[in-house]
Structure formats: structure tokens, C-alpha cells
Amino acid sequence: MATVPLESALILAAVLFVIGLAGVLIRRNIIFVLLSIEIMFNACGLAFVTAGWYLGGPAGQAMYFFILAAAAAEVAVALGLILHMRLAFGTLDTDKIDRMKG
């Protein structure tokens, strides 16, 4: 049986990561920025699981577990911050809140 080359799985992870990075840079709605950060987390997880598959051990999946924990904690706090941003500024546009005044 033919095996999937390691390169194609890593290229897929890289493509997903770049799409997420482009989303962070291009989109101005903070919900989409957060979604793009999730895409980048997911791409990192894919790279780890691919490496774990290639090396043949549980280490890759263990690392994916840690990435998932970090993503979950990040999303919980960031969504709370988004709600505060909406209440304080009445907007979800990241360009409108570029002043740091306490």
C-alpha cells in the first residue's frame, strides 16, 4: 500500500497555517481574527500529529492535547474580551480601537 509522503501532510499544515495568518492580517472583524487564530492552532496540531505519525509514537498526539488545552483557554478569555470590547466601544472593528488609553 502506498503511503502518504510526509511532505504532503506537512505542506497541508503549512497551507492551513498561511490561510490562518492571512486571515489575521486581512480581516478586520475581531471574530474572524479569532477564528483565524484557531485555524493556525489547528494547523500546528496537524503538523504535530503528522510528525508523531512519522516517528511512530504517542508523542505527537500528546503534544496535540497540549495545543488543544492552550487553544481552549485562549478562546475562553478572548471571547470574554470581545464581549467587553463590544460593550465599551460598540464595534467589532479592530481598526477602531487602535488607541491605548487605559
Binding site: V49, G56, Q61, L68, A72, V77, L79
Partner: protein
């Protein structure tokens, strides 16, 4: 199987591109869930059923529901009733459903023909992952639990203020 991997990869990239470029946040969320499911199928094909279950349950399940709750909270107002009718329209969910249907056909194919999945790799059972997590990676698990506790406390602290202000707002 190579074909299954490449089909899932194409679905993942397409769904992610659509998720990033949508104008409506709920549409983007639907496409991102499809992208997560495609990545879950890829994990399954790579012999990582534990990671596949985690990505479906936690990422596509819990985290995306959290996103959906916040989007629904932010859409409060007269617009929400018309928005609901839009979400039930087939053009909202036809794309994600079509991509998911391809994924489920692929998964059923891999399940019905054992050996078609896990291209050239032995399957790493959840038991091995658990033994690794609570063996050599025990400190990491403790750190992750502390991180999650900090996340819970932070979300509670931030959310409490929002509910107080939101209650006065209504």
C-alpha cells in the same frame, strides 16, 4: 489510503479558505467546522484516533459552540429575527453539508474496508497516548490543567462584568 488523504486535504483547504473569506460570521463558523472535521479525518487516516476524537469533540464541538454563543449574543436586537430565517435557508448550509457529506462517505469507506485507513502506519491507540500523558508528560498535563483553570477564572471574571452591564442595557 492516499486518495482519502488528498480528498480530505483539499476539503480542509477549501473549507478554511471559505471560512476566512465569508462575510457572515455564522457561515464562516460552519465552514470552519467542516475544516476541523476534515482535519479529524486526516488524523484518523494518520493512525491517530485519539486526536481525531479530540478535534471533533473539543474543537468542532465545544470551542465552536462557544464562538456561536458569542456571535448570537453580539447579534442581539431587531436583526436577530430576520437573521434566524436566513440561517435556515438552504443556501446557508448547502455548502458545508455537501463538504461534510464527502467526508462522511470517505470515513465510511475507510471503516468498511479495514486497512484502507492509516496509510502505512500502525495505529496509536488512546491507551498509549494516555500512558504517555500521565508518564513522561505528567508535568505538561499539570501545566495544561493550571492553564485551563486560569482560563476558566479569566472567562468568569470577564463574563461577570458583561452580564452586569448587559442586564442594565436591556
Amino acid at each position: 489510503m492516499n486518495t482519502a488523504f488528498y480528498v480530505s486535504g483539499i476539503i480542509a483547504v477549501a473549507a478554511t479558505l471559505l471560512a476566512v473569506t465569508r462575510g457572515n460570521a455564522v457561515h464562516a463558523l460552519l465552514y470552519f467546522v467542516v475544516s476541523l472535521l476534515a482535519v479529524g479525518v486526516i488524523f484518523f487516516l494518520l493512525g491517530a484516533p485519539f486526536a481525531a476524537a479530540l478535534v471533533v469533540i473539543i474543537n468542532a464541538g465545544a470551542i465552536m459552540v462557544l464562538f456561536l454563543f458569542v456571535i448570537m449574543m453580539l447579534n442581539l436586537g431587531p436583526r436577530s429575527a430576520t437573521g434566524q430565517a436566513d440561517y435556515l435557508h438552504p443556501k446557508t448550509w448547502a455548502g458545508p453539508v455537501a463538504l461534510s457529506a464527502v467526508l462522511i462517505v470517505e470515513l465510511l469507506y475507510c471503516l468498511m474496508f479495514p486497512g484502507a485507513g492509516s496509510p502505512g502506519a500502525e495505529v496509536i491507540e488512546p491507551k498509549q497516548v494516555g500512558l504517555a500523558l500521565f508518564g513522561p508528560y505528567l508535568v505538561g498535563v499539570e501545566l495544561a490543567s493550571m492553564l485551563l483553570l486560569a482560563g476558566v477564572l479569566g472567562a468568569y471574571h470577564l463574563g461577570r462584568g458583561v452580564s452586569a452591564i448587559g442586564g442594565g442595557d436591556k
